[in-house]
């Protein structure tokens, strides 16, 4: 059933996270944020463990995880690429940048490259509209992009 088996130390980590929020069901989203911060993603076993500690049905945990786009059940690439698709970026040509990113990486939005190096996601406005269109690679922001710059930027990470 489960896709990964958690180590005892990981189970302990989750227990501690839940306990730090008083094991309160109302803190589920905070617990998920913190846990994803530690694990990078929220696989099934992690969600089961959280459900157990907060004493809520795992279906509810899964329901929450799948509702919010911030939470992911898949690990991200080593370099997580996020393209802003806010309106400002859109009207300044973000779609073309996206097409180029897909082409260069050979993956679709939401996927990870086979070597695990890059993952590609879209997000809504990051608020750097003055720099539109904007791409984030990890925490670094690349602004005022056009498709021709994509290859060059990716080269820094290859």
């Amino acid at each position: 059933m489960s896709n990964i088996k958690l180590h005892d130390s990981q189970i302990r980590q989750i227990k501690d996270i839940c306990a730090s929020y008083g094991n309160k069901p109302g803190e589920l989203i905070n617990v998920l944020h913190t846990t994803q911060g530690v694990f990078g993603y929220l696989p099934e076993e992690v969600q089961r463990e959280i459900a157990k500690n907060l004493n809520i049905p795992v279906a509810k945990v899964y329901g929450v995880v799948t509702f919010y786009s911030f939470f992911t059940m898949k690990p991200k690439g080593e370099h997580a690429i996020s393209l802003c698709l806010g309106t400002a970026c859109y009207v300044r040509g973000a779609e073309g940048v996206l097409d180029e990113l897909k082409k260069q990486l050979g993956i679709e939005v939401g996927q990870v490259t086979p070597d695990g190096k890059f993952s590609l996601d879209c997000l809504r406005c990051v608020g750097a509209c003055g720099l539109a269109p904007v791409v984030l690679i990890g925490d670094k922001v690349y602004g005022r992009l056009d498709p021709s710059k994509v290859k060059e930027i990716l080269a820094n990470y290859r």
Partner: protein, 596 residues
Amino acid sequence: MVQVKMHLLVCGGTGCRASESKRLVDELNAQLQANGLADEVKVVITGCFGFCEKGPIVKVIPDNTFYTKVKPEDAEEIVKEHVLKGRKVTRLLYEDPETKTHVSDSKHMEFYQKQVRIALRNCGFIDPENIEEYIVRDGYAALGKVLAMTPAEAIDIVKKSGLRGRGGAGFPTGLKWEIASKNKADQKYVVCNADEGDPGAFMDRSILEGDPNSIVEAMAICGYCIGATKGLIYIRAEYPLAIKRLQVAIGQAREFGLLGNNMLGSDFNFDIELRYGAGAFVCGEETALIHSMEGKRGEPTIKPPFPAEAGFLGKPSNVNNVETFANIPAIFLKGWEWFSSIGTEKSKGTKVFALAGKINNVGLIEVPMGTTLREVIFEIGGGIKGGKKFKAVQTGGPSGGCLTEAHLDTPIDYDNLIAAGSMMGSGGMIVMDEDDCMVSVAKFYLDFIVGESCGKCAPCRIGNKRMHETLEKICQGKGTMEDLDYLDNLSKVIKDTALCGLGQTSPNPVLSTMQYFRDEYLAHVIDKKCPAGRCKALKSYVINADKCMGCTLCAKNCPVSAITGDKKVPHVIDQAKCIKCGTCYEKCKFGAIEIR
């Protein structure tokens, strides 16, 4: 003692930080140190100046010199020339797009001249991570005033000020507080909605990053008024800087006794906690926001009951957005008469707008209600980028609509925007030019809505999906007149039947573009043409034989070998093979490739 003679204010907002403003600050400090000026000149990291287009910004005080697009490497020159010798670094000054002259004093920039800053009063002026600077700017004095009044008196002032909610629908804030104050409960909550989700809107983030203490103070005021001792700020997890600044502000306020028990010697107690969003636009809707804060799926529920009756954990809760709160301290400090003297008859005060899109001065501005779109776009915003023609401005985000040239002289307020088929929303303003296809724009918003619909009610869950599919069909050149009728009917039904504000307003971008740009829809449907040349399926690249020199560059670069022709002979594009990538168009040095 050495007197500080100069302040260098550096924007530390998200936009400017993205352009390395952090490193710039380090570099400035290093240069000051190297030149023995560290004691005389203070570098202050402030919130957003609003002029994001030209970030990072450095403002030199007291002479108000306004440097734009400053790179860390420029620090040396600024220190050696301006700080040391009093000579302004001309090349970094803002250049007026019309007169092409350098403007050194921000007081003389058109961008700032028309603005009236109430909500943004401290943004770009104080160090947001230093509560003392806020206190010097009369911070917490409004709270002090309020604590000397009865809650009813204080609510009355908010009512008289005419302040309306800045998050969307414009519900009178004082009335909201009054309702919450009248509901009896053992516990009530003040909730600050900082889940700013409109793509292209970042005013709340800038306020939180630039002046977090004003929100803390306003929430405490609200708490006193409605009888709540707990405040919650629901903030997007995508705003790490705003979160950090709020945490600092709350921490400092607690340290100074401006949050906690017996505030300012009264018997009023108040404290604030942060709750994080997790990427769901619908959580900007207050019932959805409350469910999200409770650790649940952020699905809206039917109102009534309103949060003022049964909100967070079933207790009466007052939800206001960031900008609304940001106005509160100013109203108490300067009086409701002052506030209500600004603006139009039914919309008082100012509104912050995030200007973005095809406009010269992308940024954050605050203008009195009643300012016209023309003033905002052409005077403050500096007009359209690249001298292109203005086509439309989208206000209100995905819930709003597109307005046209005909609306440029309409004074902006809640009621006028609704009458024009749009809405104030949170204040995003996206400017579009002649190159933007309005069908595609409508499709863009629907795409957003489809991605963000919570899926609870049928009209929004399925209806918006069908609308999006229909728009896609039209952009593909496969649309029919029946499709337009279908869109029209669906839009009206969704407005009529969707459960929450998100759904009820989701057809607005379609309705307004269909109303104001019907010819563009008809061009797509009947002529199978996209007048803006934006819809790939509807455009074809054709080589103008008169201009083609037969250089073969296009043929060499075509990824699908759709271009053929001999050297020095005009080339031809095989339309069946062409994938319309536009490479040939970009590569051609003779302008021989035309889009039709």
